[in-house]
Structure formats: C-alpha cells, structure tokens
C-alpha cells in the first residue's frame, strides 16, 4: 500500500495531553515537519513555555528546555549564544509571551536575537482553566471576565506581531491561522520562512498562529474554528508584518 501521510520522525510516540480539537497538535506537527524538511533535527533546540505547551519537550525528538513562565526568549538567547549554529526556537502561548513574558520577547526581538518564536494566540489562558489573556477580545467571556472583557476595566487586546514588527531587530514576522487547510498550508510556509531567516542569520523571527481552545471557549472544535475565523481574524489580520531581505 502506498503511504500518503506519515507523522514526522521528530514526533515520538509519547501520548499528547492536549484536549480533543485543540490546534496545538497541528502547530507541533508543522514545526516538526519544517525542521525535518530543513534537515535540522540534529541542530534543533526547542524551548517550551509555561502554559498548555509546557510538555512540548516530551513530544519533540530534539534537545529541549522547559523555561519559567514568559522567559523562553531569554533561555533561548543563552542557548543560541553558546551554540550559534543550532536552530533555536521557542514555542509559547499568549499568556506566556504577551503578558508575563512581554519584556523578554520585546528585547529578544530588539536585539535581533537570531532565534525563532512560535507564538500560539488562542485569546485565553488554557492550562490554568480559561482565564482572560492579554489577547482576549473585548466582550469575550472567560473565567476572569465572566461579563465579557470590558475595555474600561481591562484595556484592549495586544497585537503582538504588529508591535514587534516596529523593532529594527525583527527580521521576519508573520501572523497565520490554523482554522482551515489553506491557512494551515500558509502557516507551514510562514514557519519555514521564519526558520530560514534564522539559518540565514538575519535576526529575530516570529510566527503568530491564531489557534482555538474549544475546552475553555466552551465550544465544539468545529464551532471554535468558525469563531476564530469570524472574531479573531478581523482583530488580528493575517499576513507578513516584517520581512528583511
């Protein structure tokens, strides 16, 4: 029989802890596929965050770190400075990257740190049970915004890609989405470009991936994909925000 699809060899057989319907699995697979396609398995070093992807170090067959909450870009900086030829990446959620780790991601980008950040934006804290994130949309209900996020009280969601794109040290910044096949294919291309930016030593790269959290959004996986498309993309437009030639 002809093999038409295989899971990447960079994925081991460890049972994943992600909820059914969550897009983390897709994001993990894309990262693994690109690293394999680039032939960089032996040089890849990943940094897992605190949040839903805290166990990412278990699933990817490359050297891994597990970092403190928000500090993955600083950890990656240390790792990259010691071994500049390694392909060093962080994999962070929105609570980790855009809230507690805002300083670390901004300064890693400002330094032009030659690392790649994979940024999962699902507009909520998943691991801790669905609290309001810095990316939670105005009006969105969470366990700490039970009446919907009010801008008078909690301000406005942060557009991280646009913000980091203003920094001189950022070499490649793109926002993609995981809500359907065409967009997943675009996301894969974006991840490839980001890693290639690092291999070419151009500076900091980040791909923001709009993602779903059916469990904490209180929606079915299918409704979640639809909700992402209708509500997140208008506020978080897709596209390339920075590309240094």
């Amino acid at each position: 029989m002809e093999t038409v699809f295989e899971k990447p060899k960079m994925f081991n057989s460890e049972k994943m802890h992600y909820c059914p319907g969550c897009t983390h699995g897709i994001a993990h697979r894309l990262v693994a596929e690109i690293i394999e396609e680039l032939g960089m398995q032996d040089r890849a070093v990943g940094v897992a965050p605190v949040g839903c992807s805290v166990f990412a170090y278990k699933y990817l067959e490359c050297d891994m770190y597990e970092a403190a909450h928000g500090r993955a870009p600083a950890v990656a900086t240390g790792a990259k400075r010691v071994h500049p030829d390694n392909l060093v990446f962080t994999y962070q959620g929105d609570g980790d990257l855009a809230s507690i780790g805002a300083a670390e991601i901004v300064h890693a980008a400002a330094r032009g740190e030659n690392i790649t950040a994979i940024f999962i934006n699902n507009a909520i804290y998943g691991m801790t049970g669905g609290q309001m994130a810095p990316t939670t949309l105005v009006g969105q209900m969470t366990t700490t915004s039970p009446y919907g996020r009010k801008s008078e009280q909690s301000g406005y969601p942060i557009r991280v890609s646009e913000m980091l794109a203003t920094l001189e040290g950022a070499a490649y910044i793109e926002r993609a989405s995981l809500h359907d096949i065409p967009n997943i294919n675009k996301a894969k291309k974006a991840i490839r470009k980001a890693f290639q930016t690092q291999i070419d030593k151009k500076g900091f790269s980040m791909v923001e991936l709009l993602s779903t959290c059916p469990t904490n959004w209180g929606k079915t996986p299918l409704d979640s994909l639809e909700w992402l498309k209708k509500n997140m993309i208008p506020y978080y437009p897709l596209g390339v925000f920075k590309e240094v030639e």
Partner: protein, 353 residues
C-alpha cells in the same frame, strides 16, 4: 604571577575569566556595576559573550539557557536584583545546572541603600527562591579571597551540578587590594553529557533541561537526589578559618567584611585580658557547624557579629545547641561596626562570665 592592585568587583570578574567563564549576563545595579563593566570590555578579548539583559529576571534565564547548553556562565547583581533572580535560581537548582551568581550585597529590605550589609544571609543560605534546594555560598573577606573563591566556585559548581553564590558586600566589591590569580585545585569534572547542544550524538539521550515533575513521587525522587548531593557537599566543601582559638574564652563568629573588623577587636581585647578568638565561616552553606560545636566545649561564650539585625546568629545557636551563651551584635542599613563596638560587647560578655 605577580600581584596586581585591583578593585574587588574587577578581581571577581577577572577571576571568572581566568576560570574559563566565557558567558556573562548582567544588569546594572550599584554596588556591583564594575563586574558587568569589566566583563563588557574583557569578554570580547577572549572570544566570550557579554550581554546586558533587559532585567535581572532575563539575565538569570539567559544563564539557565547558557548553562543548559554546557557553558561556564556567571551573572552578578545586588540585593534587590538578586531577589528578582530567585525564580530563575530555583529553576537552575532543580534542573541541576552549574553556574556562579555574585551578590554584592547592599542594605535592605526594599530598595534600601548601597552601603555594605550582610542582611541577605537568610536569602542566600535558606533558599531565597521556592522549594527544597541549596546553593553553595562563599563569603570572601578580602579581594584576594574573592578571586580565589570565584575560581573555586566554578569548579565546585561543575563538580556537583549545584549553582554557587559569591556573597560579598560593597566593601569587598569597591575596595582595592593586591591580588594574585592562582588556579584552584583541579577536580575530575564529570562530562556534560546532559547539555542541550543539539542532538547529533545519538549515543547520548535526548537532552531535556527541565524542572517540571508533575507526579508527586517523581518530584520527591528529584528532591531526594538533590539532597544526596547536598549531603556530599556538606561533607567535603565546608570551609572556615580559625583565628586565635587555641586559648580563647570568648569565640566571635563573623564572616566577610565583619570578620576583619572582629580581628582588630580581638587584638584590643587580648591586650585587655579578654582571651578572644574567631571562627570565620568561609562557606555560609554548608555552614561550619561542627567546628562551632567543638568550640562550645572549650570557650565560655560566643559573640556573633553581623551587618544585619541577626541572621547567621540563628545557625550559630543551632550549632552551639544551648551549651554556652550566644550573644549577638549587629549594625545594619549600611552602618559598619567599629572594632570599639565589638570590644565593648566583649567587655560586657567578660563581666557576665
């Protein structure tokens, strides 16, 4: 090698370079600024990396990254900055990453002041960060000893995979003294086959630099393993100095800057018929409890002198275990005790004996 006149902070930085440290991540704070400044000039000369981080928090996590990648790495700061590093220090301790952290202590709590203090004793030896962990804590009393202990601390930290701390103060950091850089005793250091260097050598396991253990039994096993190492460190790495203890009736216990002032007071005391000696802990953890316990059977009384409201005195009392009276004299906030202050305390003790 001939002696050179150097500031303590600069001697600490140069000693790290001499010890093979090629990565330094820091953030400005007084009174330790000469360490990052010196490193920023010196690291490029030895193909090393100096990076000024965006915060102490980031700096200690860069240390986590670089140590996890197998490098000899150092960071330095001062009290409030060291407080910010505590989260990272706890992660480093749990992930068994060697590194050297320098604290040139200023007074506190809070933003405090920049003058010499020893009020970070608790923070340095009783945890500081969260969880069941220890640091090897060295307390130099001179610029020479600061250089020696920095070089030693890298060896010990690599040997045990336990982070080490150099606990100085503004006096040690800012004072100029002659210093000679002498290589410490070489240890048979274990290979860093646990480091995340890129997994091209498949003869080793995949490297995972981690401090997350979600199963209770597994986390307990990690703590038991760490504790086994700590017990070995207690057996092998405790350092102290005894000064005029042979015939002493009163034993002063003091470390770092304060121990030098105590030595002056001891000379005056002896001229006035008070036979006084000194036990100076050089490692604050492991603490030289045994030698203090032994002294308790010979001397009549103890006097602990610190630049704090009384922190190390608790460990002295634990070691003496009620066998003899233990008094305390302290100045804090950046106030430095004088030999006369200490002599006055000794007179009071002598009258009470």
């Amino acid at each position: 090698m001939t002696k050179v006149l150097m500031k303590g902070n600069e001697a600490i930085a140069e000693a790290a370079i001499k010890a093979g440290c090629r990565y330094f991540f820091g953030y400005p704070i007084t009174p330790q600024n000469q360490i990052p400044e010196y490193m920023s000039k010196r690291m490029p000369e030895v193909d090393g990396t100096f990076l000024q981080a965006e915060s102490e928090v980031a700096a200690i996590n860069m240390v986590y990254g670089a140590s996890g990648a197998g490098a000899r790495v150092m960071t330095s700061s001062s009290s409030p900055g060291i407080s910010l590093k505590q989260e990272g220090i706890s992660y480093i301790a749990c992930a068994k990453l060697p590194c050297v952290i320098v604290n040139i202590v200023r007074s506190g709590p809070g933003l405090g002041g920049i003058l010499p203090s020893q009020a970070d004793y608790f923070q340095a030896v009783k945890g500081g960060g969260h969880g069941d962990y220890r640091l090897i804590v060295y307390a130099p009393a001179s610029v020479q000893e600061a250089a020696d202990l920095v070089m030693e601390s890298f060896e010990a930290s690599d040997f045990y995979r336990v982070p080490a701390m150099i606990l100085g103060d503004g006096m040690i950091g800012q004072m100029m003294e002659p210093v000679e850089f002498k290589a410490p005793k070489k240890r048979d250091l274990p290979k860093k086959d646990w480091a995340a260097t890129g997994w091209d050598d498949k003869s080793r396991k995949k490297a995972v630099i981690n401090s997350l253990f979600i199963e209770a039994e597994k986390m307990q096993d990690v703590c038991i393993e760490l504790d086994k190492t700590y017990q070995k460190i207690k057996e092998n790495e405790t350092l102290f100095e005894e000064y005029m203890m042979d015939d002493a009736e009163v034993c002063i216990v003091a470390y770092g800057t304060t121990s030098r002032i105590a030595k002056n007071a001891i000379v005056t005391a002896r001229e006035n018929g008070i036979k006084t000696g000194l036990i100076r802990p050089i490692t604050l953890w492991p603490f030289p409890s045994d030698i203090i316990k032994k002294a308790a059977s010979k001397v009549d009384a103890f006097l602990t002198v610190e630049m704090s409201m009384g922190q190390m005195v608790e460990d002295v009392k634990l070691a003496v275990n009620g066998e003899k009276p233990v008094s305390f004299f302290g100045t804090t906030g950046g106030v430095i005790p004088t030999p006369q202050n200490i002599f006055d305390e000794l007179k009071k003790i002598k009258e009470g004996i």
